[in-house]
Symmetry: C2
């Protein structure tokens, strides 16, 4: 694999995991030494991270890991509502229910995975992510897909912040089930509205979960 690709993935992973905390400086020489490559591929990786919104130029010379406070999470969900709502609407409108029949079963069985410990949790998120993939693919819109991929990066970052309440995840699974059913039924309005409902409840849970962990509500990491 290309060194720039390795550097990008390594840095991205560390930002999503929180190993690189919000506000941490991303200096070329330092990261190049740490990752064992030269400045050139690091430079490319940092540019991609900035384009992704995971890194932000604090000034002309200093790049930092982007902040992740309550306000930016609300912003993320406002954007997700627009993009995922439209994706669900388009997917429903394409009238290809057969693409989603296998996924429907998988989502329907997801709640039971939550009793299988950490392994089950990964499987649960695997099913949810597969649904996102299929909706994006069914929407058949490359530009929308690119925007969704960016948003999903940030969503993954938020996901690691919120506690994983089995109760909430069970509810989320039934919300996803409604989304997939409305797509299968070709009901575009319902698909969009069910997505809106899901994101609303998901945001409420995320904010409460973060508030519980970081009572000030601003600096969350």
């Amino acid at each position: 694999m290309r060194a720039s690709e390795r550097a990008y993935r390594a840095l991205r992973e560390e930002i999503l995991d929180g190993a690189l905390e919000p506000g941490a400086a991303l200096a070329e020489v330092e990261q190049a030494n740490r990752l064992g490559v030269s400045r050139t591929p690091v430079r490319e990786a940092l540019a991609r991270l900035e384009a992704d919104g995971l890194a932000t130029a604090a000034s002309a010379r200093v790049l930092q890991v982007s902040a992740l406070d309550a306000a930016s999470i609300v912003s993320l969900y406002e954007l997700r509502e627009a993009l995922e709502g439209q994706a669900a609407r388009l997917a429903a409108g394409r009238r290809e229910p057969e693409r989603f029949t296998a996924l429907r079963k998988r989502i329907a069985g997801a709640p039971e995975l939550l009793d299988s410990g950490d392994e089950g949790l990964r499987a649960y998120y695997g099913a949810v992510d597969a649904l996102d993939d299929e909706i994006e693919s069914a929407a058949a819109n490359a530009m929308l897909g690119a925007a969704l991929r960016s948003v999903r990066l940030h969503s993954a970052r938020v996901r690691r912040l919120a506690r994983h309440h089995p109760e909430r995840l069970r509810a989320a699974a039934s919300e996803h089930l409604l989304i997939v059913d409305s797509i299968i039924a070709g009901d575009a309005d319902l698909a969009a509205h069910a997505t809106h409902v899901h994101l609303h409840l998901s945001l409420r849970h995320a904010l409460a979960s973060i508030e519980a962990r970081h009572p000030d509500g601003h600096r969350v990491a």
Copy 2:
């Protein structure tokens, strides 16, 4: 200005203007020679163009100017509907009508600009762009703003393709007026729906205009 920034702007301008046609190869050495800088800043510029969606990797080694056919224009408008609809909705919800009062007058006077030749046309688009700016700013959502800026790049590219029918532009101005009025009134639903209507009519015109110029409907440039 930095060489990479100059290279990026120069290439972007040429792509938006059509001087670099869809499918044109973007080779590092060739562009570096042409722009009078070394490969390094060109490389950064090309990476940014690819992130913008203005360039596409045709294979592992060849980067091309992105295609601009009817299908990708439809995709763009599907994305615009999601993003601009949400932006208008948020802007209306923020209840800051005073931000838009001066702009309202400017938009209301826009149709008359269309009788002033090329200079007036630029002024017309200046007013429209200012509205877009203010809606983005009023939406107060950095992530949405970043997505909107990407979309507006592509919109600018499409704009140059469609003929500028004064009749259509006069109608568009009244659509914009309704959008701005609904934001001033704090009517979020109306703002979103008016945006939807505007984009629908705009897309219809763009497709018809392109079809008239390129009867096959696929390779438009």
